[in-house]
Amino acid sequence: MANLTINEKNEIIDRYQANPEQALNILVDLQFASTDGYIDQKTAQLVAKRVGVTETRIYELISFYAILKEKTQARYVLKICNSAPCRFSGEPLVSRSLKEILGVNENEMTADGLFLYHGIPCVGACAQTPFIKIKDRVFPNLTAQQIVQLISDLRAGRYPAL
């Protein structure tokens, strides 16, 4: 979590009064605030200490909940839906296109560390399939052409907030 200072991390923890009840909120917020997209060990230790539980307990949460990651992620993690409603109504266009454009398989990072795409269960955007979700943002009803465009825009840094 190179981009977050210890103060910034503490600020996020304080937002939830370091309440163990809010450990998940804290971890999710920390991960979303970091550019590496995962909880590193130092951060896990900090959270453990601040909310007053063991480090093991924090890692138990990280490994149980799918959103939380313990390894560094690509700069842009492209989430696509792998649940049945989407899979049978347009989603394959996205996985096929991404494989072609990026030249990697699902769950493999591109050599430049920029992209990784992976299937996750329904995110509630089933009426907008085919879509790609990056962090909180859904790019809905995509055509093959728009997927190409999105990737080149991301490469060019046109979505700094993501």
């Binding site: 163990p20 009840e21 998940l24 799918a66 109504s89 509630g124 009426a127």
Partner: protein, 433 residues
């Protein structure tokens, strides 16, 4: 007055478009009329209204809300907690998300009515991690409610009516939609289900009596109080009152969220321009997966006279579940479709109990074999008994419903399974132990 064929839960959606958390606008549109009325009522009369309304739980299990509330009302122990399950994760479902986006205060009002009824100090909204952008909207709505003294201390000027609501984020675990897993998750633990009984109304959050209801259920509560149980029931049918938010996805022209009166003809929902608008692919519609991945499958051709209501679907061995309707055309093989369903469950099983942890994998393997047309005589029987094992032996609702779609498909499309079996090969018998 509410009448049929008129928006009820979605009535404020357009009017609050500028800012769904605007509490003044909300109050001008009947907002908080339910809460204001409830504090004037006798609490047991409120329970009677709920019974009269026949509100069945909108999360999927269709448990009568009146019964749940009554149970908690008479449960011993204080404090009691109010929990809103916003961990919407049933594939093909986005109605809770839409409600939170467009009318968050309706949910908050429903939860506050519950807070009043049970003298609860604290409510929790457990919202799934993938809905992070909605957290902001909810947080804003809570701030507005606090500022207007609809939350906090001495609400509505009533001494001792102290109640507030917290938001807790999930982080990507379907099983947390199961009420007891959800409570564990709020307590900061991994979200695995608890062994039941005891009932959560007796031993829930932090071992205290707890009410867990779905987002849409809470949004219905102010309507019931405002309009009365009988009027609410009249919006639906004898066995289930009110309207239902439904999510149409798959191969229909108009995908999206709709509000329908319970009792609307299913074919209207599929084919009328007002709702689904018919097939989007030009091919005939083949089947509908109802209520999420844990729900049953129905063949479109057999449902011509079916009404979309609890009783109407039950009569066809179907169920409303979450309100999802995943509609597939005749290009989709049922075996391919079920493979996807099975993969979902194998991924989401929390691993606590063996029948579900191992069973979901075995089911997936069997379906993959069917898909490759590599099954041998006997495989189908083994598959069917595996479905029975997993359904009967699993500890929670997740494992118990894995097989629902498969059991209905076996009945509806036996020929597709038959085609997957190579009858030239030797028979395989189930190995009993």
């Amino acid at each position: 007055m509410v009448v049929r064929n008129q928006a009820v839960l979605t009535a404020r959606f357009n009017k609050l478009q500028a800012d769904p958390t605007d509490i003044d606008a909300f109050c001008q549109l009947d907002g908080y009329a339910g809460l204001k009325k409830v504090v004037e009522m006798d609490k047991t009369a409120v329970l009677d209204e709920l019974d009269r309304a026949v509100l069945l739980g909108r999360g999927g299990a269709a448990y009568p809300a009146g019964k749940k509330w009554r149970h908690l009302f008479y449960a011993k122990g204080q404090p009691k907690y109010i929990v809103c399950n916003a961990d919407e994760g049933e594939p093909g479902t986005f109605k809770d998300k839409t409600l939170i986006e467009h009318d968050p205060l309706a949910i908050i009002e429903g939860m506050t009515i519950a807070g009043y009824m049970f003298d609860s100090p604290q409510g929790y909204i457990y919202i799934r991690g993938e809905y992070r952008n909605l957290h902001r909207c909810l947080r804003k709505a809570l701030v507005q409610a606090r500022t207007a003294n609809f939350l906090g201390e001495n609400i509505l000027g009533i001494t001792g009516f102290n109640y507030d609501i917290k938001i807790i984020s999930g982080a990507g675990a379907y099983v947390c939609g199961e009420s007891s897993a959800l409570l564990n998750s709020i307590e900061g633990k991994t979200g695995r289900p608890r062994v039941k009984p005891p009932h959560l109304a007796d031993v829930g959050l932090y071992l205290q009596p707890t009410l867990v209801n779905n987002v849409e259920s809470y949004a219905n509560i102010p309507v019931i109080i405002r309009e009365g149980g009988a009027a609410f029931k009249a919006l639906g049918t004898e066995k289930g009152g009110g309207t239902k938010l439904i999510c149409l996805t798959g191969h229909v022209k108009n995908r999206g969220l709709f509000e329908v009166n319970l009792g609307t003809p299913l074919y209207d929902i599929l084919y009328s321009e007002k709702y689904g608008g018919g097939s989007s692919t030009g091919r005939p519609l083949k089947f509908i997966h109802f209520g999420g991945q844990s729900g049953p499958i129905g063949a479109v051709a057999q449902l011509k006279d079916c009404l979309y209501s609890y009783d109407g679907l039950w009569a066809n061995n179907l169920a409303i579940g979450s309100g999802a309707l995943v509609v597939m055309d005749d290009s989709v093989s049922i075996i391919d479709y079920l493979n996807s369903v099975a993969a979902f469950f194998a991924h989401e099983s929390c691993g606590k109990c063996t029948p579900c942890r191992i069973g979901t994998l075995r089911i997936l393997e069997a379906l993959e074999k069917f898909q490759k047309k590599e099954a041998v005589p006997g495989d189908l029987e083994v598959f069917e008994s595996m479905l029975t094992h997993v359904t009967q032996l699993s500890a929670c609702g997740l494992g118990q419903s894995v097989a629902t779609s498969m059991v209905s498909s076996l009945k509806l499309f036996p020929e597709e399974f038959e085609l997957a079996i190579n009858r030239q090969t030797a028979e395989q018998k189930e190995v009993l132990w």
